[in-house]
Symmetry: C2
Subunit: 140 residues, 2 copies
DNA sequence: TATTTATTGATAATGATTCCTATTAACAAT
DNA sequence: ATTGTTAATAGGAATCATTATCAATAAATA
């Protein structure tokens, strides 16, 4: 999704477009870091020093509600990602790095479970934990 | 896994077997609640009032390290489960209820990802979020 | 340009988890 | 069975991510 589209859809729903919100969205759209709220704050602050941590939290809440960002919990901390399509998050147990990986079979599984279980399924959240390419040499 | 086996394997590794540890393990082995540390504490306390929350946390840490319990994060809170085989956790977005569901295809996916990615995969963690049978009528 | 009110920033409050340490008790050795 | 060693416990303090509060600010509209 493009920044322009996101801005328009937010504006359409009556939300105000502030420099802080643009900076946060722009950063998330262009990074693969899966940053925490605190990381978002320090990165955005470099260009927009007037951005507070409260605002970062509130903006991330808004973007999550609108399903414009995905949130996963790692080590008791929320990590954010503009990739909102169904995918698997690879989480490094050593350095905390996160990578996205696509897997077509997820859709099938999701459909199967939706049938099999008595839950009304809204979304999947799939993680695999291990050691990333940089860390794995130390741990095998 | 049976309580007896767990006790033996812990003792073999030099860990002491205390009434608190037995009570915690016994509860986890016999519930489907996926309780939080606090819930474990209050349930165990009914039978063993001398059990402290610190001890619950430390016992859960130990059991997690020994891969005798599974831990997942829901709403910023850890939830525990004696089911340690690969499975999917169904999480209710309304009441926080968690159910386990088996899905053979997970093994295939895990194998595929292990090949496809450059991560050294240790374990998977699969969740599907939605509304449980009790809650879903209010939300559709 | 003025008006309305959502948003922001700063700080306090919350709550799950971890840390700390004197006391207790499991268990091995006697 | 008794004792000694030391892991485990209790309970309170500390930590830290997140949420709540609210006066000041600035988008958006007329």
């Amino acid at each position: 999704m493009q920044l322009e589209q996101i801005v328009m859809s937010l504006r359409d729903e009556g939300h105000r477009i502030t420099p802080q919100r643009i900076a946060i969205m722009d950063y998330l759209l262009h990074t693969k870091d899966h940053p925490s709220a605190d990381q978002v704050h320090s990165v955005v602050r470099k260009r927009y020093p007037m951005t507070s941590l409260s605002t970062v939290y509130k903006t991330l809440d808004l973007l999550r509600e609108k399903k414009l960002v995905n949130e996963i919990e790692v080590w008791g901390e929320a990590r954010f990602d503009a990739q909102v399509d169904e995918h698997i998050n690879l989480v490094c147990l050593n350095c905390g790095n996160i990578e996205d990986i696509d897997e077509k079979a997820l859709k099938n599984i999701q459909a199967k479970i939706a049938k099999k279980s008595d839950y009304l399924i809204i979304k999947g959240s799939f993680e695999m934990h291990g050691y990333c390419s940089k860390c794995k040499t130390e741990f095998q």
